[in-house]
């Protein structure tokens, strides 16, 4: 039997999360004696999935699916799972995959666990560890249905190579008008800027930066690191930065490799939103700021002095190491 993954792509190119998901699926498949099948939608080159243990790809190529439709995509994945007889379906925690997941769960009559952070505790019964209470706790959830749907949390597994020989098959799901009942009228997208969702490194500023006019130095640091910029809730509430940059419990979640907090005290709601990041650095004048309790590395100092110095030193470091 096969485990089905939805290998997501953007502009025809598979995303890194697709390979992470393949790695994760392959590890489970090795335990259960299954193989891994991927479904791709309008992805051009899918060959690299073989490196991470995928042995079959169902390629959907359909102009109707150029614009994302949660319902149509869920329908396509559902039909792929049924065709393959997959009992386990895996998706990544991207905006689009998490959007279609509940529709897919209903379609497959599958029990669904999101925010899953590790390999299953056991596969029979099927128990997964997931983030809950906004990263303040883990919940161990048993999925009791025959078909199971799991969303792997961002940055929680990594890439593991396990070469397989790959067969590609084109797949044409049957889609209905209802799948396209929602029409996309317009899309506004910032180009050439790293998004918080995709960023390996996030540089985030708080009220300690004193005003929107001081964001230049944070942006320079971000540029050197190839990082996305973010901000705390007070900063977005004050209108210093757009809401789309607000990270925290009521803002965007961050699960980057490195999170650098500058002038952010570390309110419990902020920490909850960024705690899935692997390594946390805090730069703050107040050594009593709560962020120091959750950070891996800390600098007690004035951001206005530390940031420009750090940016210069990183520039030199990058020049040396590239």
């Amino acid at each position: 039997m096969s485990i089905l993954i939805y290998a997501e792509s953007a502009e025809g190119k598979l995303k890194k999360v697709a390979y992470e998901l393949a790695s994760y699926a392959k590890k489970i498949a090795d335990q259960t004696g299954d193989t891994v099948t991927a479904i791709t939608i309008n992805a051009q080159d899918v060959g690299a999935l073989a490196t991470y243990g995928v042995s079959k790809v169902l390629k959907v190529d359909d102009d109707k699916l150029k614009a994302f439709s949660a319902r149509a995509y869920a329908d396509a994945i559902k039909q792929a799972a049924q065709k393959e007889g997959s009992k386990l379906v895996l998706i990544a925690s991207t905006t689009d995959s998490l959007y279609l997941a509940p529709l897919l769960a209903v379609g497959l009559e599958a029990g669904y666990a999101s925010n899953v952070v590790a390999l299953p505790e056991s596969t029979s019964p099927f128990v997964v560890k997931r983030n809950a209470f906004s990263n303040k706790a883990f919940s161990f959830t048993e999925i009791t249905t025959d078909v199971k749907l799991v969303a792997l949390a961002k940055n929680s597994f990594g890439l593991v190579e396990s070469p397989a020989s790959l067969s590609e098959e084109s797949f044409a799901p049957s889609l209905s008008d209802a799948d396209f009942a929602i029409k996309v009228e317009a899309t506004e997208k910032v180009t050439g800027k790293v998004t918080i969702a995709d960023a390996e490194i996030v540089v985030s500023g708080g009220r300690g930066l004193k005003g929107p006019e001081n964001w230049g130095m944070l942006e320079q640091l971000a540029e050197v690191l190839g990082a996305a910029t973010a901000c705390s809730k007070p900063v977005s509430d004050l209108g210093w930065r757009p809401h789309s940059e607000h990270v925290g419990q009521t803002g965007k979640p961050v699960a980057s490799n490195l999170y650098i907090a500058v002038g952010i005290s570390g309110a419990i709601q902020h920490i909850a939103g960024i705690n899935s990041s692997k390594v946390k650095v805090v730069i703050n004048t107040d050594p009593e700021a709560p962020f120091f309790k959750v950070a891996d590395y800390g600098v007690v100092g004035d951001a206005f002095e530390v940031l420009p110095k750090l940016t210069e030193k990183l520039k030199a470091f990058k020049a040396q190491n590239s």
């Binding site: 949660a70 991207t94 905006t95 689009d96 959007y99 997941a101 509940p102 529709l103 769960a105 209903v106 029990g111 999101s114 925010n115 209470f133 906004s134 990263n135 303040k136 706790a137 883990f138 919940s139 161990f140 959830t141 048993e142 999925i143 009791t144 249905t145 929602i182 029409k183 996309v184 009228e185 317009a186 899309t187 998004t195 969702a197 995709d198 490194i201 690191l225 809401h243 789309s244 419990q249 009521t250 490195l258 709601q269 692997k278 390594v279 120091f292 309790k293 959750v294 891996d296 590395y297 800390g298 600098v299 007690v300 100092g301 530390v306 110095k309 750090l310 030193k313 470091f317 190491n321």
Partner: protein, 248 residues
């Protein structure tokens, strides 16, 4: 227009999270419960539709009697009436089934929920409601307007936003942006007084087969102490990030 707003009753964002009963249950002791923030943004938008376009706003919660205080708060903010499905929610699918039943019976044009609750973080209930009823569904909604039978909906996407059009009925999962933080309302005395006499009906749950169950909870392991680096020695910070943490 008839609007149903789904209200989750969740621990306040500052709550300490602890577990009891051999780590199988959340410890409610001393915890303040609130309207789930993502739901409150949606509720506030619904009240806007009520005031500007004469919409009727019903709030619903799936929970035991203790959640009525949270529903009364939603009534104090301005909802017209409330429904409590009298059950202890077991998982997201259970809640979705109950709400789908309420939607079916009430004939709502617009169902607004938050994109996720702060306790379970499942992010699945509104999508499942739509899936169960075959209704249109939009997630991560940061704007909605309606005209007649159609809605213009703005959804947040990675690095931007997308404007969509859909015909009603529609289910949306909202978040901050659907209204701004400053638009949120603190119930005034008049609202609180009125809320006491607004209708709150209690309905029986429908039977649902169990899809998932929580086996136990666990708190993250305590963190080791922060390594402090002097602001005069930032080379050391770069060295640690490169050689020890291996993130740059």
């Amino acid at each position: 227009m008839k609007i149903l707003v789904c209200i989750s009753h969740v621990p306040d964002t500052t709550s300490k999270i602890n577990f009891v009963n051999a780590d199988a249950e959340f410890d409610k002791n001393g915890v303040q419960f609130v309207i789930n923030p993502n739901d409150e943004f949606g509720l506030t938008r619904a009240i806007w539709f009520q005031e500007k376009q004469g919409a009727k706003v019903t709030v619903v919660n799936v929970g035991e009697a203790e959640t009525e205080a949270t529903l009364r708060k939603a009534l104090a903010i301005g909802a017209d009436d409330a429904i409590r499905v009298d059950a202890k929610p077991t998982d997201g699918f259970f809640v979705a089934k109950q709400i789908a039943e309420v939607v079916k019976n009430g004939g709502y044009d617009l169902v607004i929920a938050g994109k996720e609750s702060l306790d379970d973080n499942g992010g699945m209930v509104p999508g499942m409601v739509a899936g169960l009823l075959g209704m249109n569904f939009v997630k991560s909604v940061i704007g909605i307007e309606t005209e007649g039978n159609s809605a213009k909906i703005v959804r947040e996407i990675d690095g931007g936003k997308e404007t969509l059009s859909a015909s009603l009925p529609v289910v949306i999962a909202g978040q901050k942006g659907i209204v701004e933080e400053k638009d949120l309302r603190i119930p005034n005395m008049r609202g609180i007084m009125q809320a006491r006499t607004k209708p709150l009906s209690v309905v029986e749950p429908v039977a649902v087969s169990q899809n998932t169950k929580t086996v136990k909870f666990e708190k993250p392991a305590p963190k080791s102490a922060v390594k402090l680096v002097s602001p005069d020695n930032l080379d050391e910070l770069i060295n640690l990030l490169h050689n020890e943490a291996k993130v740059i």
